[in-house]
Amino acid sequence: MKVVMIVEDDDEIRELLAEMLADGGYEVSTARNGEEALALLRSSPRPGVILLDLMMPVMDGWQMRAEMLADPALADIPVVVVSGAADLGGDGHALKASRVLTKPVKWPVLLESVRAHCN
């Protein structure tokens, strides 16, 4: 079973997602912003998928994605963007995400996105 990494600054959502994914049998790692996530990515086994919020303090999701794409070791880790940003438009494409989900996201949809990369 591959690890699912959750990068989300909102404590409630991060913990809830971690709990629900753990209940679903997934191993979960969490980070509160892009900086924490990059540090974790560079020091731990690579996750099967990253659930990435965009609007976060310290380092947001766009910056983190730019750093990932610039690093050959991280560039091909699948990313599912889960954002409350009102209109990602072309950004969703530019982020090279395997999927872009708009908050509030439905659990079955999110789970399906995780399964696509982690089963």
Binding site: D10, E12, I13, L16, L17, M20, L54, M55, M56, P57, V58, M59, D60, W62, Q63, R65, A66, L69, A70, G84, A85, A86, D87, L88, G89, G90, D91, G92, H93, A94, L95, K96, A97, S98, R99, V100, L101, T102, K103, P104, V105, K106, W107, P108
Partner: protein
């Protein structure tokens, strides 16, 4: 310095420092936000504040032996730059409703440059990490496409969207988790979860409606055009609203052809239009039925929503498409809604190159007709991005 001159000198120096600080703040804002609606006001505002600072300094230096001519010249420059700034700010504010509220609400005219700076600063700070976000978005796009990123969502709208969607997400996930409990829930508990789900969906639709409405008002709505089946979409909307119909024991039916009714338009926007029209019909119908009929008529796709409600008087038929208008508000005080739905529907349909109309007679129900081009013709449309859900 004499004791009498000390206080005016100190306050003049304090004022000069304040004006110079504001000047520097404006320069920073202008550098970071060259495309801000208030950018044109930055130069006169900077001159205004700089001249005001110089005036204060001259007054401070010459307080014991006033140089009336120099002060008069500086005051004239300050006044001229102030007036130009005010005109530029007012012009920018009238073009951008969001920022105008910040720039003009309760701010005295003399503080116009400060208001402009404050508006720009608010715009810059509303999204957490907004500057970094914009810079990095450009860099991501540069990496991938070598092209510039699309204009970011307006600061206030971005904030509203993010801040409302975040707790909604937690609520939705908790409801999904509760729903997953399945057989552990008693029928009554299951019914409560279902109703909470419907309420969460309504709240999400309301947030979407407000955002779409604000974007339409600001000319920032960009449609994502893709081919889809209008008949299937109408059936989905019907099913989504069926609980609302069942609560009032109304029949809700959708008629569509067996063949696919192809359209190239924005499915999310059209879904919102149909949701608003059908939900409105259900709201104002007490008995009978609401019927949705979808058809292809040449290059036009038509959705007709007919209800057996009270009907709308001729003089009210135009007004219902205005924002924040409910028909006969005194009679329907108990009904929910802010009167945004039909106005939003009309503006969305217009933006997709279509047309919306109503035929109605008091006591005989109403028919709302949405005509859409088979291929959206709006200049604001763009092809859907592959890989974006």
């Amino acid at each position: 310095l004499t004791d009498a001159a000390l206080l005016p000198t100190a306050t003049n120096i304090a004022l000069a420092i304040a004006c110079l600080a504001m000047t520097w703040a404006l320069v920073l804002v202008a550098r970071r936000h060259p495309r801000s609606a208030f950018a044109r006001a930055q130069l006169p505002a900077t001159i205004f504040l700089g001249a005001a600072a110089a005036t204060c300094l001259v007054e401070a230096v010459t307080s014991s032996h006033p140089n009336a001519d120099l002060s008069a010249v500086l005051r004239a420059i300050t006044a001229l730059a102030g007036i130009i700034t005010a005109i530029q700010v007012m012009s920018a504010a009238s073009k951008t409703p969001d920022e105008s509220a910040t720039a003009t609400n309760g701010v005295p005219a003399a503080a116009a440059p400060a208001a402009a700076a404050a508006a720009a600063a608010v715009e810059a700070s509303e999204e957490p990490g907004a500057n970094e976000a914009r810079d990095s978005r450009t860099s991501v796009t540069d990496i991938v496409n070598g092209a510039s990123a699309p204009a970011p969502e307006a600061g206030f709208l971005g904030l509203v969207s993010h801040e409302l969607r975040t707790p909604l997400t937690a609520m939705q996930l908790l409801l999904d988790r509760l729903g997953d409990a399945g057989e552990e829930l008693a029928p009554r508990q299951r019914s409560i979860v279902d109703r909470l789900n419907a309420t969460a969906a309504r709240l999400t639709d309301l947030v979407d409606s407000i955002l779409y409405y604000a974007r339409l008002r600001n000319g920032r709505l960009v449609a994502s055009v893709e081919p889809f089946d209008l008949g299937t979409l109408a059936l989905d909307v019907t099913e989504e609203l069926r609980p609302q119909a069942q609560r009032k024991s109304l029949d809700l039916e959708a008629k569509t052809t067996r063949d696919r009714i192809s359209i190239e338009s924005d499915p999310k926007l059209i879904r919102l239009v149909l949701l608003n029209i059908v939900s409105n019909a259900l709201k104002f119908t007490e008995r009978g039925k609401v019927a949705i009929a979808v058809s292809a008529e040449g290059d036009t796709r038509v959705v007709r929503v007919t209800d057996s409600g009270a009907g709308i008087a001729a003089d009210e038929q135009k007004r219902i498409f205005e924002p924040f208008q409910n028909v006969e508000p005194t009679k329907h005080k108990h009904l929910p809604g802010v009167g945004l739905g039909l106005s939003l529907a009309r503006q969305i349909v217009d933006s997709l190159g279509g047309h919306i109309s109503v035929r109605s007679e008091l006591g005989k129900g109403s028919t709302f007709e949405v005509s859409l081009p088979a291929v959206a013709t709006s200049a604001t449309s763009r092809a859907a991005q592959p890989g974006v859900a």
